[in-house]
Subunit: 263 residues, 2 copies
């Protein structure tokens, strides 16, 4: 990539579309919203849309495409969701059936794409507010757990709330709450502060997804709803056909982060 890191979202999507970037997207197009992707047949789209409506903290829905259209008209007019993510995962009957850089061959006239807000937006806001994030400092993936909190079900779709955890210095916890509360479309304020047991999490050294990070003296584990939730729920439903982004390989939109801030 080299100096492509400073490229615009549109330029980056073109680079990705031409197959010249197949890596993860954190750090690309800083200041622009990146999203999770879930693609489903229309037959399951109503219940998935309802699931997102009923669970807005883990599933902040930024855009739903018209059936068969791969263009996210609101978030990135002219983009093509079949080619503009660096890597996709294809699932059949609830099992991974490959990772590809292009889903044009898989596209169908009945597919609907769901673009769901992502923690990158609020993490950037936290760092800009002077709140250190250990997993970023250490080049790790954030630590995530499935909790004992059940999402509100909708038809086929049900399952536990998945959370991410970030250790925050105690005196900065209130600021971490107010900063992230500004971004409800990127999971918003924490759902739990300091009490993992309340979520059914009993070992902070062994996350269900991502990498463990140290919690130092004076730091509080803070838990946010996580975009892995809708993916986990979509997979648990064992649908015949689902496509998602590959972990860390998000869709880069034209939407500046600040447009998601409500305050």
């Amino acid at each position: 990539m080299g100096d492509s890191r400073s490229a615009s979202p549109r330029e980056l999507r073109e680079i990705i579309r031409r197959g010249r970037w197949t890596g993860p997207t954190p750090g690309l197009a800083p200041g622009f919203v990146q999203t999770n992707l879930v693609v489903l047949p229309q037959a399951q789209a109503y219940e998935f849309l309802l699931f997102c409506q009923r669970n807005p903290r883990p599933c902040p829905l930024l855009e739903v495409t018209d059936p068969g259209s791969p263009e996210p008209r609101e978030l990135a007019p002219g983009a093509d969701l079949r080619t503009d993510l660096p890597k996709y995962r294809i699932y059949r009957e609830g099992r991974v059936d490959g990772e590809v850089a292009d889903i044009t061959a898989e596209w169908r006239s009945d597919l609907v794409a769901f673009l769901i807000g992502c923690s990158f937006t609020f993490e950037r806001a936290l760092v800009e507010a002077g709140i250190p994030l250990r997993h970023i400092e250490e080049g790790k993936n954030v630590a995530m757990w499935a909790t004992t909190v059940e999402c509100r079900p909708a038809g086929l779709f049900h399952g536990p709330l998945v959370v991410s955890m970030r250790p925050i210095p105690g005196h900065l916890v209130p600021r971490a709450v107010t900063v992230t509360a500004r971004y409800p479309m990127a999971h918003g304020a924490p759902i739990q502060i300091g009490n993992p047991d309340a979520l059914g999490i009993h070992d902070l050294t062994r996350p269900d997804w991502g990498d463990a990070v140290e919690i130092k003296t004076g730091e509080t584990p803070v838990f946010w709803a996580c975009g892995v939730t809708p993916q986990a729920v979509a997979l648990a439903a064992k649908l015949p056909f689902v496509i998602t982004h590959a972990p860390g390989h998000m869709f880069i939109t034209d939407l500046p982060d600040h447009t998601l801030a409500i305050l």
Copy 2:
């Protein structure tokens, strides 16, 4: 009603269910969220849900029931949407086909109810913040207009954004913005301040719905997205069958107003 004005939401719904209150609901159960109601067959529910997702300011969706279930489990467990509103309007092929106090006879296993946030919530917050509301003082209905701003369409559903207007003393306009911004699930912050022409509104003395109110010297007309929008859009789609609340005859939930405040 007499002293029933101080009854709990559950008590009021029982009074309404027994047919002992068929009037409008403003002022009842103060401090509890009231909602708009739109009931549609499931065949049209996906596109209507998508319309609400794409137009959250006029259509803040608080709950969608499971097909065939008349119980709003989140907002009022145990309530029955077929009987617990004082008056309903039934539409067939886009035309009013009667107003009734009970829709039990019309209920079907494929019906889905949409409960949509209502301006009563933010009006109470405005009054509590010391901002006078003329239409309330004068016992009128708020003035509403269809604008030249088009909603984002979804399938069958499309049409203009409908707004309500309240004249606000100039020095209180910033406070009116911050107070209502706290309630995105009750239409949130204004969408326009002081320039009706920008919305295609050219005569503030002649609203499309509701009652005109005087705008006094030093007052600014302030425009909020309005819950009439989803109703107007549902009707314009000329669906075979739609039920809504009758104007002003809302559903009274168990949800305290403050639970909708984001700040």
